[in-house]
Structures are given as structure tokens and as C-alpha cells.
């Protein structure tokens, strides 16, 4: 049965009426009309759906929306804007990282939390921190360059 669930999305309070077991990803995309994040696997294996929930990188395909009630949800579009880009977004543009770019939520949102918690990560910390995310186009080299560049911009 549908329930009323409220959370903060990119700084605005939003309320939806959906079945509480609906994954947050479907609510963001369909009830709230976001184009991004993406469905990649629905299995918490790829990261295409990553958002921050109370600051923690979270795979929204696998989080029932009921568990997002009362939290602060932030998506890639909320991380920064062309006018005020997050330093990772600036770095991903400078390094021209994406091919298809369908994977970007995972990399940027996960790296944003990594750099927040570890402002000057070692190469190993970057690699370990991003491990498990997928990029099928193989932009790995550029991703690492961009994260290093953003870390240096801190």
C-alpha cells in the first residue's frame, strides 16, 4: 500500500506517496522526475544509481524509499552546478572523463565522499575507495586522473 514519505532532495523537502518498498531510485526517477541517477543493475553492483543519503554514498537501486524517510538525499545534479561546480565535476570536465557517462554517478558521488573524509588520499586509497564501481567504456585511467586532480585542488 502506498505511504506518504518525505525526505530532503538536493535541499528541498519532497513528499511522495508510494509503496514503501519501492527502491529510492525509482522514486527519484519516476515520482520526482529526475533524469539522473541511472538504473544500471538494480543489484547494488555497479554504482550507476549512486546518491548521497545523509552524506553517505548509497546505491539507490537497492534502498527501499521508506529507509530514506527523513534523510537528506543528494544527487549528482545537487552536488554542483555549471556556475558552482564541485571540484570533482570541474576535474571530470578538465580530464574529459566520460565516454557514455552512464556510470558517472557512481564515480563522482563516491569520490566526493572519499575526498571529504580523506582530503589527500594516496593512490591506493583512491583505488580502494572506488573499487567495485563499474565503467564499461573503460575510462578508468581518466577517472583516476580526475580524482587525483580534484584532490590536489582541495
Amino acid at each position: 500500500m502506498a505511504e506518504r514519505i518525505a525526505f530532503e532532495l538536493n535541499g528541498e523537502t519532497r513528499t511522495v506517496e508510494v509503496a514503501p518498498d519501492t527502491p529510492l531510485l525509482y522514486v527519484l526517477r519516476n515520482e520526482l522526475g529526475l533524469s539522473n541517477p541511472h538504473f544500471g543493475c538494480g543489484l547494488a553492483q555497479c554504482g550507476a544509481c549512486t546518491v548521497h543519503v545523509d552524506g553517505a554514498p548509497t546505491r539507490s537501486c537497492s534502498l527501499p524509499v521508506s529507509q530514506a524517510a527523513g534523510t537528506k538525499v543528494m544527487t549528482l545534479a545537487g552536488l554542483g552546478t555549471p556556475e558552482h561546480p564541485h571540484r570533482l565535476q570541474a576535474a571530470f570536465i578538465a580530464e574529459q572523463v566520460p565516454q557514455c557517462g552512464y556510470c558517472l554517478n557512481g564515480w563522482i558521488m563516491t569520490a566526493a565522499a572519499l575526498l571529504r573524509d580523506t582530503p589527500h588520499p594516496s593512490e591506493q586509497q583512491i583505488r580502494d575507495g572506488l573499487s567495485g564501481l563499474k565503467c564499461r567504456c573503460g575510462t578508468h585511467m581518466a577517472i583516476l586522473r580526475a580524482v587525483r586532480r580534484a584532490a590536489q585542488a582541495a
Partner: protein
């Protein structure tokens, strides 16, 4: 909401098919050109480009960019020929109403072939505009110069007319000639000759991609984000045993889910729902009784035996020089080996998605397919509509590396939309992205070399045998090549194709041949084979370039020296030398003499030609002896694809090839049992993890302005697996002849 609208689509310059109207306001006092656009046709200059009132230019590109900046290169080419700044060129692609069918993304020919009509059209437009300006300014054309889209009298720059003033907002209405070939080979030309490369100013620079900022800010709409009014969400249901068909479908099993409808036609079973999540749940809950189909596949462990024993459907011998049999008869020594390569999956980052609004007399298709014109044709056939009544609109999708699942989603959506009389968005689930996409073919490769008493190669035979690279045609223009069509009973019209090594070794006698075998299931197979990035290139070159090293090792020769001894084509020699030099190649035979310790290191080289490009790669690996795990630590790539249009874009394209190539060489293998594909997610079909990324990919670009640009989208994936296998041999003395080079295999071989 991301309701689909023209406005929203025009926000990002050049990003995909976003610009659909060139807008013709203010046709002030133009004396030339026509106000009405001639019908879209390859022989009309207006089909290729338009000058807007403000002088901005729109280029209509009938191929696609799949995230490697081909559209940027096209803008560079068009700006170059027109003498208009790059920033003022917009590229429209993938919309069947606005672009002619240049074949879509296909065989890395976006620039190589796709750029030709655009280059010619831009040169022709410049010629005409200069002629018109010369009339209006009253000076001969040879006293005219063009700078940044402004035509001025030489030495008298105040006398000038801009392109916008000359024709902005109007149409040339000028005929060109064309060769009548729709698709990759389409060539159209006017009277003008394009510039010589020595005059290039924009070509050779590295302007950034159009689409990157929108992607990075989460603002680019993908095909998955298209929403049209009244749209329903669709999901497909695939048989649990390949070849089974539904006997009974129990609609009641999904009755409690609101608004769910089941569509069933022979083997085609789908679901639509108002809410996407309901459609997803309905797929899990729907109770279908399937026919008892005999499991069609061999045991996975018996795959290569199956290929060995299968009867040959087609054999071709593209290379046959010298006297093979006498060479082997007189050989002092014969070296031979056999290699194996598995089925591989496109495993695109998102499962395929398409939206179709099918009406009684027309339809619209939104697709991420890399061949939207052909996708449109397929949807038209599936719906029984004339081609010109279907509008195909390409919207960027998850990365596509050939004939992936996107080619099936359009026809799924079309059939569902027609059945329920509403627009339908279909997206696959992950198990479909891995489990039901067309696969890169599995194969075996046998190589034999005859050596004389001095170790010189006097005979060489290389034969591949495998599933056809085109069981499914390269595009989806015919429903019989779609999953939906086949599940509904259209028989597979398997085409036959494979390939031979692309190299220039000048052995005294040489034969390269291929053989294809029948598909494992004649329709609707999750192991049907089709083009996957550099179709059959990685597997063939894995075998052929591994074998070159095996001959070198058999004669205790340095692998680099061995190649240089036999290579004939000067560009091939140049890339091989360039890669070796940059990598500071240590000349000695493989394997390395000291192979002690738990961490083993080694280097290997491999090279390949591909459709006018040539690439050599040195791989340096580190191997953990205890686990058998290979880390591809460093690659050095020497790359020659003729004239370079955009060097930075090319470098990133090469990096992507090398990383994807490493992934396919080290980890990727489709798993299956007798009934179905069992590698249906990222755990069962792992790809290279970021933690396993090379430390460096060092790239040497060899620019050849005297040559036309060749494709770079696939050339550098070709030699990666062989370079790695050769490096593993160098490090360990173990020759792995079965891909992928997994830790289990290497550990077992080292034990």
C-alpha cells in the same frame, strides 16, 4: 518532469540529437538560396549542412558519436573546410528526419568514412558562398578571402559579407553527386576540392567534447530518461530454457499489481504497467508455463570441443601465398599451437532501453542504438508501416560497442506499444544486459609454422574456426535479426563471417583461413553472435600474435627482433619500433631468465593492422605467483591512424580501448549451462576493476597528414590480449592459450 519536448532538447549544443530545428528567423533580403528546404537526400547540399541567420552552422551527420567525440571531429572538419570557427558549428546526428543514413556507428568509420561527405559538403558550401560573395562584392573570386565565416576582399577588409548575410536561414538548393550507397560507404561530393592538410588550422587541434559538461552535472537526458505523455513502462520476459515457448500465461498471477497488462504473442512475452516498479515486480510474479524444450547448449566445459567437432558451414582462405605443402614437407622443425577464446558480452553499463509511440499510421522511436536509421527500418517492418512513417530519434544511451541489446529493445517497445495502443518505454533488467545481449563469438585458432634448419620461417598456416561474427546482422533493420522477431518464430538467417590476422609478416609461404560453424540454437538464442567491439579482432590477434612469440621463443629470438625480421609494411615497422623504443624494450628472448620470487614481472609486444590503422602495444605485467593474478601494470601504445583530427580525443579513445581490452583479456567469459547463460550480473561477469587499472598507458601518436584519417575506435583493442599473454609468458615461462588469462588458469599452469 522530463516530459519530452523540443525545448528541453535544445539546451545543450550539439549533444546528440538535441538540435532538431535550425530556426530560420530573419530571412532579411537574401537574394540567394531557397526558403524551403529540399527533401532530405544525399545529393542535396542542404542535407549535410545549413547556415543559420546568425552565421552559425549546423552539420547533419548520419553516423553517431558513442562518447568518443566523433561529433567534435566532424565539427572540426566542417569548420575547417568552411573557415568557420569550431565554436559556431553544431552537429545534429541520429535523427532520421534530419540526417541521411550514413550507417550509424559502425566499424570505427565515423571519421574515416562518415567525415567524407561532410568534408565535401563543407568545401562545396564554401565554394558557392565565395562565388556569391564575389558577385555581390564585384570582385573576382581569387581576390576573396574567408576568415571566421566572413568573406572579404583581399586588401580591402571593409568590403565584406558574412555567411549569415549571404545565405543565413535559407537553403542552398544545390545538387551534389553521390555514389548511391546508403550506409558506411556513402560518398557525396560537389565541385569543390577540399583543402590540403597542410592548410589545416582546426583539424589537428583538440577542442573538448560537447556532451561532457551536461553528463558531469547530471543534466544530460539519456534514452532511459525519455518520457512521453501517456507512456507505459514495459519489461520483457525471457524463457528460462533457451528455445522454450510459453504454453500458458496466467494473467491472474499479477492481478494485484495495479494497471499491469500482459502482452503475449508466440514466444514474445512482455508486461506493461503505469508504474515502472510495478512492471519490474510483475516480471518476477508472472506465472508462465513454458514448453519442454531440450536444452540446446553443450556443457560449458565442452565448448571448444564442440567447435572443433562441428561441421563447417563456410570456409574462406583470404590469404594464400607461396608453396605451403612443400615448405612443411621440407621443414627442419614445425611449431604449432592452438588457442581458444570464449563468448563475451557487451555488458553495457545500462541494459537497453527504447521508447516507441506506435499509432495506426505512424510511429516514433527513441533509441540508444548506434544505428538509429536501421533501428527505424526494423521498427517500421515490425509494425508493418512504411519507412517514412516512422521517425527514429537517437538519444544517448549506455555505451554501445557493436550490435548490443539496444538493437532489440526498439522492436520490443514497438510491439508492446502497438499491442496496448500507448507509448511504451522498455528497459531491460541486468540479467538481460548480460544474459540476452548478442555475444562476441567463441572460437579456436590453430597455427603452424615450418622452420628451416636455420630457424627461418618457410611456411605459416593460421586457421580460425568459430561461431559467425554475424549470426545476427550488424544492424537491426530486419526483425528477423531481433530477439523479439526470433522469439515470435522468424528463423535466424545466419550470415557467415569471421576473419584472418591483420598483419604484414612476409613469410615465404603463408595461408590464413577461417571457418564458421552453425549457431547452437536456430532462433532466440542468448548465445547468438554478433559484432562486439572490433569484431573477431581481439580473438584472432590474441592467437596470431601469441603464436608469433611462440615461434620467436622456439628459435630463442627476441620477440621484437623476430617481428622486425619479417614485417613488410613500413607503417607496421614504424609502430612496432616506436612502441619498443618508448617502452625501452630490452632485447632478449622470452621468457626472462630469472623467474624466481613471488612477484614475477615481464613484458610482451603485439601489433595489429585494422582498416587503415596500425597499432603496436608493449604490455608490462606483474604477477602474483601465489594467486596467479596478472596486473597489467603499464602499456606503451604506438598508434598510427593516418591524419589525426583531434589528438586529445584520440588519446582517451586509445585508453578506453586498452582498458576494455585488458578486461576482456584477463577476466571476461560468458558462462552458460545447457539451458541458458548463467553469467547474468557483474559478479558472474566481472570486468576490470578500478583497483586493477594500469599505472600508466603511455601513448605515442604517429600523425600522417599525407594519409586520410582511419578509424581509431577499435584498432587499439585488437593487440591488447596478445601483448598481455606474451608478457605473462615472459614473466613466467607459461604460455596461456585460452582466454581470459584468469588467476585460476595461471595458478594451475604455474603449479
Amino acid at each position: 518532469m522530463t516530459q519530452f519536448s523540443i525545448d528541453r532538447r535544445s539546451v545543450f549544443k550539439g549533444a546528440g540529437a538535441l538540435v532538431v530545428s535550425i530556426g530560420i528567423p530573419g530571412v532579411a533580403a537574401a537574394e540567394i538560396g531557397k526558403p524551403v528546404k529540399p527533401a532530405l537526400s544525399p545529393d542535396q547540399l542542404d542535407s549535410w549542412l545549413a547556415v543559420k541567420a546568425d552565421g552559425d552552422v549546423v552539420a547533419y551527420f548520419g553516423k553517431m558519436d558513442m562518447g568518443q567525440g566523433v561529433d567534435v571531429a566532424i565539427a572540426q572538419i566542417v569548420g575547417e573546410e568552411l573557415d568557420v570557427p569550431f565554436e559556431r558549428i553544431n552537429v545534429v546526428m541520429g535523427d532520421t528526419a534530419w540526417t541521411v543514413n550514413q550507417g550509424g556507428a559502425s566499424g570505427s568509420t565515423g571519421i574515416q568514412k562518415g567525415g567524407i561527405p561532410l568534408r565535401n559538403a563543407a568545401a562545396e558550401a564554401r565554394r558557392v558562398l565565395v562565388e556569391l560573395a564575389s558577385q555581390r562584392l564585384g570582385v573576382p573570386a581569387d581576390r576573396i578571402e574567408v576568415t571566421d565565416g566572413v568573406v572579404a576582399v583581399s586588401g580591402d577588409p571593409a568590403r565584406k559579407l558574412s555567411y549569415g548575410e549571404l545565405i543565413g536561414g535559407r537553403y542552398f538548393d544545390l545538387a551534389m553527386t553521390w555514389n548511391g550507397k546508403i550506409g558506411n560507404d556513402l560518398v557525396a561530393e560537389g565541385q569543390a576540392k577540399p583543402k590540403p592538410p597542410s592548410a589545416y588550422k582546426i583539424v589537428g587541434q583538440s577542442p573538448p567534447r560537447f556532451d561532457v559538461p551536461a553528463k558531469v552535472f547530471g543534466k544530460l537526458d539519456y534514452v532511459t530518461d525519455i518520457k512521453v505523455p501517456g507512456m507505459l513502462h514495459g519489461r520483457m520476459i525471457r524463457p528460462p530454457v533457451a528455445g522454450a515457448v510459453p504454453v500458458a500465461v496466467d494473467d491472474g498471477s499479477v492481478q494485484d499489481l495495479p494497471g499491469v497488462r500482459v502482452v503475449c504473442d508466440k514466444g514474445f512475452v512482455g508486461i506493461v504497467a503505469e508504474r515502472e516498479w510495478d512492471a519490474v515486480q510483475a516480471v518476477e510474479r508472472l506465472h508462465v508455463t513454458w514448453s519442454e524444450a531440450a536444452p540446446p547448449f553443450p556443457e560449458m566445459a565442452a565448448l571448444y570441443d564442440h567447435i572443433r567437432q562441428a561441421s563447417v558451414v563456410k570456409r574462406e582462405v583470404p590469404v594464400a601465398t607461396g608453396e605451403i605443402d612443400p615448405a612443411f614437407a621440407s621443414a627442419a622443425r614445425i611449431v604449432e599451437a592452438e588457442y581458444e577464446w570464449p563468448f563475451q558480452s557487451h555488458a553495457s553499463m545500462g541494459p537497453a532501453c527504447a521508447v516507441v509511440d506506435a499509432r495506426a499510421d505512424r510511429a516514433t522511436l527513441w533509441t540508444g542504438s548506434q544505428k538509429p536509421h536501421f533501428a527505424r527500418d526494423g521498427v517500421a517492418r515490425a509494425l508493418g508501416l512504411p519507412q517514412d512513417k516512422v521517425h527514429g530519434i537517437w538519444v544517448p544511451g549506455p555505451g554501445s560497442y557493436g550490435r548490443n541489446d539496444a538493437g532489440d529493445a526498439g522492436i520490443d517497445a514497438a510491439l508492446l506499444s502497438k499491442a496496448v495502443d500507448r507509448p511504451v518505454r522498455v528497459q531491460g533488467m541486468r540479467y538481460e544486459g548480460h544474459g540476452w545481449d548478442p555475444k562476441g563469438p567463441a572460437s579456436i585458432h590453430r597455427a603452424r609454422a615450418a622452420l628451416d634448419k636455420d630457424g627461418a620461417v618457410i611456411g605459416y598456416v593460421f586457421e580460425s574456426k568459430g561461431f559467425s561474427r554475424i549470426d545476427i546482422d550488424t544492424n537491426e533493420s530486419d526483425p528477423s535479426y531481433s530477439l523479439a522477431g526470433q522469439l515470435m518464430g522468424l528463423p535466424l538467417k545466419s550470415l557467415q563471417g569471421f576473419g584472418v590476422p591483420a598483419e604484414s609478416y612476409g613469410f615465404a609461404s603463408k595461408r590464413s583461413a577461417w571457418e564458421t560453424i552453425a549457431p547452437l540454437l536456430d532462433r532466440g538464442s542468448p548465445l547468438r553472435t554478433a559484432h562486439l567491439r572490433d569484431p573477431v579482432g581481439p580473438q584472432i590477434q590474441f592467437a596470431s600474435e601469441s603464436f608469433i612469440d611462440e615461434i620467436a621463443a622456439a628459435t630463442a629470438t627476441d620477440p621484437l627482433a623476430f617481428r622486425l625480421r619479417y614485417l613488410k609494411a613500413p607503417r607496421d615497422i614504424a609502430v612496432v619500433k616506436a612502441a619498443a623504443e618508448r617502452a625501452q624494450w630490452d632485447p632478449r628472448p622470452s621468457p626472462r631468465p630469472d623467474r624466481s620470487g613471488d612477484t614475477l614481472s615481464g613484458r610482451g609486444i603485439a601489433y595489429a593492422q585494422r582498416s587503415g590503422a596500425v597499432v603496436a602495444i608493449v604490455a608490462e605485467v606483474e604477477i602474483d605467483r601465489r594467486t596467479g593474478k596478472v596486473w597489467a601494470r603499464k602499456f606503451t601504445v604506438a598508434h598510427d591512424c593516418g591524419l589525426i583530427i583531434n589528438p586529445d580525443g584520440l588519446r582517451r579513445c586509445i585508453e578506453g580501448n586498452v582498458v576494455q581490452g585488458t578486461s576482456r583479456a584477463l577476466t571476461e567469459e560468458v558462462a552458460f549451462d545447457r539451458a541458458k547463460v548463467t553469467s547474468t550480473d557483474w559478479l558472474s561477469y566481472p570486468i576490470l576493476d578500478i583497483s586493477e587499472t594500469p599505472e600508466a598507458v603511455d601513448i605515442v601518436l604517429i600523425n600522417r597528414p599525407e594519409l586520410p584519417p582511419a578509424g581509431a575506435g577499435e584498432s587499439s583493442i585488437r593487440p591488447v590480449a596478445a601483448a598481455l599473454a606474451n608478457a605473462v609468458f615472459d614473466a613466467t615461462g607459461v604460455r596461456l592459450r585460452r582466454a581470459p588469462l584468469t588467476p585460476q588458469r595461471l595458478k594451475a599452469a604455474l603449479a
